[in-house]
């Protein structure tokens, strides 16, 4: 069974204080690891997809990295508008059944609060 564990559960940073969020995973065969941002009362918003160990992707103050067992979301010099819950999810390689891809298995998220 695919599993995703995110840490910490909650993180409070001051504006400009860089940090990292962790996502540990076990999956039968990784098709992709996804990071989403979720604001209160809204659906998850796509940030990044990582496909293989060693891959890195960046967007503004966010950088996602991937190893064979975990992914990190690095936040550099965060601003209050970066406050949100960050969700990590894995998608396994589909080995049987219909369709070309499979479900996402999510972690419980990291609630990030950035204060002035």
């Amino acid at each position: 069974e695919d599993q995703v564990t995110q840490s910490p559960e909650a993180l409070r940073l001051q504006e400009g204080e860089s940090s990292s969020l962790n996502c540990s995973y076990t999956v039968s065969g990784l098709r992709g690891l996804f990071w989403y941002r979720q604001d209160p009362g809204k659906g998850p918003e796509f940030l990044f997809t990582l496909y293989s160990a060693g891959e890195e992707k960046e967007k503004e103050r966010l950088k996602a990295t991937l190893t064979k067992k975990e992914s990190f979301l690095h936040i550099t010099a965060p601003k209050p508008e970066d406050s949100a819950t960050y969700l990590c999810a894995v998608q396994a390689v589909k080995v049987q059944g219909g369709g070309t891809a499979s479900k996402l298995t999510f972690g419980t998220g990291t609630r990030l609060q950035v204060t002035l």
Partner: protein
């Protein structure tokens, strides 16, 4: 372009009633997914459609839950004999042939 839309945004019903939740995917997306999210948890998979057929319904919790996608676009999630434990946010996502899933805003279901 237009994203995934879901209606209604909020639904309050009484225990034992029947509800339907609707999802309009991004135009051209062939895959459609339903998830359920409880407070403080990540989304939990329910069912996945590729075209008109359910490719994976392993996440449906019991036979009170059913979903359809008759024309390969709009999907409806149907819940019979609702229970208080069904209260959650129901999220829909769509993707182009299994790539990145884009989520709608969700329907908040409250069963009294």
């Amino acid at each position: 372009g237009a994203g995934v839309s879901q209606t209604p945004s909020n639904k309050v019903t009484e225990k034992g009633k029947y509800v339907e939740l609707r999802c309009d995917p991004i135009s051209g997306h062939t895959a459609l997914y339903w998830y359920r999210q409880s407070l403080g948890q990540g989304p939990e998979f329910l069912i996945y459609f590729q075209g008109t057929g359910a490719a994976d319904d392993s996440g449906l919790p019991n036979d009170r839950f059913f979903a359809v996608r008759p024309e390969g676009s709009v999907s409806t999630l149907k819940i019979q004999r609702t229970e208080r434990g069904d209260s959650a946010v129901y999220l829909c996502a769509s993707s182009f042939s299994g790539d990145t899933q884009y989520f709608g805003p969700g329907t908040r279901l409250t069963v009294l």
